[in-house]
Amino acid sequence: MGLGLLASRALRSSRIFTSPVSRNAIVRTIVSTPELQNPEASAAAQSPPEDLPIRTPVAGARVEFTNPDDAIEVFVDGYPVKIPKGMTVLQACELAGVDIPRFCYHSRLSIAGNCRMCLVEVEKSPKPVASCAMPALPGMKIKTDTPIAKKAREGVMEFLLMNHPLDCPICDQGGECDLQDQSMAFGSDRGRFTEMKRSVVDKNLGPLVKTVMTRCIQCTRCVRFATEVAGVQDLGMLGRGSGEEIGTYVEKLMTSELSGNVIDICPVGALTSKPFAFKARNWELKGTESIDVTDAVGSNIRIDSRGPEVMRILPRLNEDINEEWISDKTRFFYDGLKRQRLNDPMIRGADGRFKAVSWRDALAVVAEVIHQVKPEEIVGVAGQLSDAESMMALKDFLNKMGSNNIWCEGNGMHPNADLRSGYLLNNGISGLEKADVFLLVGTQPRVEAAMVNARIRKTVRETHAKVGYIGPPTDFNYDYQHLGTGPQTLTEIAEGRHPFYSALSNAKNPVIIVGAGIFERNDKDAIFSVVETIAKKGNIIRPDWNGLNVLLLNAAQAASLDLGLVPESEHSIESAKFVYLMGADDVSLEKVPSDAFVVYQGHHGDQSVYRANVILPAAAFTEKEGTYVNAEGCAQQTLPAVPTVGDARDDWKIIRALSEVAGVRLPYDTLGAIRNRIRTVAPNLLHMDERQPATFSALLKPESGNKTSSTPFGTAVENFYMTNSITRASKIMAQCTAMLLKK
């Protein structure tokens, strides 16, 4: 042990003595001790780490060593950090708590290394190196704060700003622009460029993404995102040198369901949101962390609002569900929240027109009618956007009225609510990444659940997993085999006659995904029993791997099945005299008798309102606190971002008030009390942000004796952009439908 090291030890002990807080109390993810370093202990002694302030990794960066032998140690500004082999210099710096400026590097995309902003100095290297593209080598001494690194950054900034327009005051990215921030931090205070700036023709990428291509700094993040994550080859790089530009090669729109994400990854204001253009500044917005309800994925979103208006929706990071992307429907449907809203209780008069009335009168009318019909003639349907609390209240209320005909639309008339594994994505969305063979049965994940599809695409891209698809011809953004269109193909696989059977049975982690569109088929049980036969034969359900998945369509479906919203009789709607629609717009009302009394409780004047006798205005998901369970069984919560519209009320409050007026008062007055009630029915709904996997696999189910019909599988989602009442009211979604779905 050298003298220097001893000296440093003494230094350390004296420091402990002077400061009451022990250094061990501070938790650090990466711990390094000089003893374990390397043969050259003297080098470490020359720059004792004790003199350095303790650093926390940037943005919660963490590292897991799968193989401890792979760990190497590098020094960032003299601070030793242990990283696994193969990490880049930039990642090592992040772990060491040094944030390297970057434009082109994005952790979820391939490395381009073309912006040169991440230059750092490495000892014994003649030039500064681009840290995002340079693999870290053992013992490397990285210097991020030296004059050379600073000068390199300043030079890069000067080149970037040379052709960047000075239109920050009118740029939508202003305030959240990487270029703006980094030029403040690393740029020079003056430029030497006196010629004309270059200008680039704007491209038309469709109704969602606005382009101002002069602002582009050619980082190619959008090109890499489109080809790698979205799986469309629409964007590319044209020209060379100063003529270099991003664009679609021919005049073409960007037709991806994930195209909105290029807005987020663009470090400058070249790609911005078209609907949000010039609407607000980001610093005047209030962010509310919430959940998306347009599909069953439950993407984590942030609702940015100004006053009573939702201004935009952005993704929130959740590695298990949506990573950091969201679909275009999620991002852009919010303008539907301002159109077609129901804001007053209304009763249809004798002339067939609605008349606005007070809540007192509306509830009194409903309560009077519900007592005039027989209990078995009462039917309740929960809509696809209903939260768990209101579904619980609806079920309790109608049960108290003597009826047990309550269901959630999309679940079919005889749903399987007994085994949770029968309606959940048992692998979990992130668990799909481990799969090596996919069999998609009657599901088009690209339109049914775009984020699940992005996961499948990621898996296929990384591990070349095989995908087999049974269903009508459809679009995929990865390689797949179209095995057939109907249940007979499924039977062939189950009997081992189909070539795909061998792929499935030879796979290590096979995955079957059954679409929820099948729930509406009459031979649903038979199809599920065939699928279970395949699962049994292919060893797909094992203690460590439950590869039999169901992909639900709507946000309310999983919670409704957890709560047991199962209709008692299949033909209740034909004999109904009182129909309570809680936001149910996709239920077919043709079979409802003409003398039936229909109550519509919801937030949009959509399809069911035409048949309704009484309208009770409710709050949309941006205006209330509600629990939703996503397709993989993870309970999540929406939070109110904006106030309710007009005289609308929260869904559960309406049912609670109605129950009192009707004389069967429900025993809860607060959300907490209603959640206590849910605890007795489905406690998993209270474990927020935590996936509750199914306990029993579907193999417990008795085999169904029914025969499968030969009808081919249908498409569950005809129009990706318009699937519920909010999206149908949205102008942007209508534009997308018109322009992007053009065949």
């Binding site: 007070s358 007192r360 709050a619 009320r649 409050k653 008030a657 009192e660 007026v661 007055d669």
Partner: protein, 130 residues
């Protein structure tokens, strides 16, 4: 009767003193009620006892205040208001709006409809936020 000569009183030394001052103020307000009834022509809309109740309830609104300085401040404001009222610095609708109708508003639903309803239902009819 006018309060023109009334001076701003010195600060109350203790809570006790402030308390007696409040009672004095209430008494003087009650004594001026007949004048107020007369000059604002209130006989057909309100009775003296209702006005007394109204004054008392405004004082009770601040019953939780124990700081003599704050009580003095509120007393001063009350005295000023009373002075304005007695001096006919206000008009009839001011008095009716503030002391006769009160915060409930002109259209009060005093029917029997909500009797027996729970607090939840009453709040529900009022607004979504409770």
């Amino acid at each position: 009767m006018s309060f023109r000569g009334v001076k701003v009183p010195a600060n109350s030394a203790s809570l006790e003193e402030a308390r007696t001052r409040v009672f004095d103020f209430f008494r003087s307000a009650c004594r001026s009620i007949p004048t107020i009834m007369e000059i604002y022509n209130l006989e057909d809309v309100v009775s003296p006892s209702q006005l007394r109740t109204s004054i008392a309830s405004q004082i009770r609104n601040h019953s939780h205040i124990t700081n003599p300085k704050v009580i003095d401040m509120l007393l001063f404001k009350g005295l000023e208001e009373l002075n304005n009222v007695v001096e006919h610095a206000k008009q009839r609708h001011h008095i009716i709006g503030q002391y006769v109708v009160g915060r409930g508003g002109l259209v009060q639903d005093l029917g029997m409809k909500d009797q027996g309803a729970s607090n939840f239902l009453k709040n529900f009819y009022d607004s979504n936020y409770f």
